[in-house]
């Protein structure tokens, strides 16, 4: 279903939210694959370069040890590149977007089924937090006034 599909009132816009969740899931999968591919390509290139330099390696175990160390260094160096940083940004952005869309769909289900939503709990948590802050402020003022009283 395309994102510009017209709204049907009787569906409470639910269909759009499901489509957006599916789209965000796909975007996350793409970003994640892109990120992994970049790292894998760096690792592969590192092994290819290393494979051409077997001179001075005493044993297969040492060969693998040194190859892993080289690959680690290569990826660490690659993490400084704009290419890696772009992929990292895409991954973080698509992950947060997917979770946001997921929450929207989950909350529709919760409301339909008479269950408190995450937002309801968050609102309550905020109220409790503000009350605690207020209590702290009052306690602080009370202590200050006691100290001032001769």
């Amino acid at each position: 279903m395309p994102n510009d599909f017209p709204k049907f009132d009787s569906l409470f816009d639910y269909q759009h939210k499901v489509v957006e969740l599916a789209a965000s899931s796909q975007a996350l999968a793409t970003a994640s694959a892109g990120y992994q591919m970049l790292n894998a390509a760096t690792w592969w290139q590192s092994w290819m370069d290393y494979a051409a330099e077997t001179e001075g390696v005493a044993s297969p175990v040492e060969y693998i040890d040194r190859g892993l160390a080289r690959a680690n260094d290569a990826i660490v160096q690659f993490q400084h590149s704009p290419e890696f940083q772009d992929a990292q940004r895409d991954l973080v952005k698509s992950f947060a977007e997917f979770r946001r869309r997921h929450k929207e769909v989950a909350e529709i289900w919760q409301e339909i089924n008479h269950a408190p939503t995450q937002q309801d709990i968050d609102d309550l948590s905020e109220t409790v937090y503000e009350l605690r802050r207020e209590l702290r402020r009052l306690r602080s003022e009370l202590n200050a006034s006691r100290e001032e009283t001769p």
Partner: protein
């Protein structure tokens, strides 16, 4: 030997190591992998925070109690990981009274907690409690990593309540990692991560959970050594568990600590990642707590700054920067040639850390004539 012999020999040797390692693992129960075993009592509890007082192991030699403030990333148990590598135990054996803050397990319901709450409520009330219990007006503090930032902020806002400030692997100038980005590319991944992600994306990520998940900080740390992380439980495993049963136990204790990663409350995580990592407000003198600017120039108490030269997580320059920002005339650096965690668990670094801190605290004991403790005032 022919190349085939060398290959066979290597494969057999590796296989033998695996067998030795699994033999050790098969004799170890989870119960035996105990961490943070030094005896302590819970003396104060506020919300999910707990304050512990450790049982003394030697007669008191330093009058000021020491409050250890760990961060919200990882758990305080790192300082008491095992009996023979315990900063806490070492300090107790030198006659220092040790208190420890434990932040518990913040959940989504704690998402609104911010630095103001951690510093002005939890740390501040703990300090007041200790002063009352120990009949003193000041405490010494040891802040660790993010806990070091809490201690630094508290000390700058309430210098009259802090007799001395020790910090370990604590970032102060969050952009100073750039000094060594070319010479040590493996350091500062988290600093770069934060600078790479726009504020609104960091906020959206944290908001989507209601906290910064412990699993996510764990993943970020694993990316600092990407291939070593992938090889940890296969190719590299024998080196960790094969040499001896005791070494396998050490490995498992560290695994236990690593797997216990608390979540970081959302509001405080946004301050940590955006205001500090991205905007570097602490070093720039623009970080505020409830509208009060945190001025590092007010850190006039003696300062011992302990940091690690091979620290991937908190690059040494980010800690070292405090020297030029603090207002104290009594400033000491201790540079350790290890990594972030090695500061606490490397046998040599652990001993150097404890010995230096204990001697430094003892040397800054108030003399009888200048002591400002309540008991001396009353005695006078």
């Amino acid at each position: 030997m022919t190349p085939a012999d060398i290959a066979l020999d290597g494969a057999l040797s590796k296989w033998t190591e695996y067998l030795d390692g699994f033999r050790h693992l098969s004799t170890i129960s989870d119960q035996e992998v105990a961490i943070a075993t030094t005896a302590k009592q819970e003396v104060l509890s506020i919300d999910k925070m707990k304050l512990y007082r450790y049982e003394p192991l030697a007669p008191r030699t330093v009058s000021r109690p020491l409050l250890i403030v760990y961060g919200l990333i990882g758990r305080y148990t790192m300082l008491d990981l095992q009996e023979d590598r315990s900063i806490v135990r070492n300090l107790l054996e030198k006659g220092i009274t040790v208190y420890m803050l434990d932040w518990g397990n913040p959940r989504r319901a704690d998402r609104f907690l911010q630095f103001e709450d951690y510093v002005e409520e939890y740390v501040a009330r703990s300090v007041d409690f200790i002063c009352e219990a120990e009949n003193t007006t000041r405490v010494a503090q040891l802040g660790v990593c993010e806990g070091g930032v809490f201690s630094t902020i508290y000390s700058a806002l309430h210098p009259e309540k802090v007799s001395s400030l020790a910090l370990s692997v604590t970032p102060i100038d969050f952009h100073a990692d750039l000094e060594e980005s070319e010479s040590m590319p493996e350091n500062g991944f988290l600093n770069r991560w934060a600078r790479n992600i726009p504020n609104e994306e960091i906020e959206a990520l944290i908001e989507s959970f209601g906290y910064l998940p412990g699993e996510m900080t764990g993943l970020i740390f694993q990316e600092m050594t990407p291939v070593r992380t992938l090889a940890k439980y296969n190719w590299d495993l024998p080196a960790a568990i094969a040499p001896s049963r005791e070494q396998a136990l050490n490995f498992l204790r560290m695994e236990k600590w690593l797997s216990d990663r608390p979540h970081h409350p959302a509001a405080a995580a946004k301050q940590w990642m955006i205001e500090l990592y991205r905007e570097n407000r602490l070093a720039r003198g623009t970080f505020e707590m409830d509208g009060k600017r945190v001025d590092l120039g007010r850190l006039t108490m003696p300062i011992l700054n302990i940091f690690a030269l091979k620290d991937h997580i908190v690059p040494a320059p980010t800690s070292r920067a405090l020297r030029h920002l603090a207002g104290t005339m009594d400033y000491t650096d201790l540079e350790l040639g290890v990594g972030h965690i090695g500061t606490f668990v490397s046998r040599k670094a652990n001993r150097q850390f404890s010995d230096t801190l204990a001697a430094w605290l003892a040397a800054r004991e108030p003399s009888t004539s200048t002591r400002d403790d309540r008991e001396s005032t009353e005695a006078a």
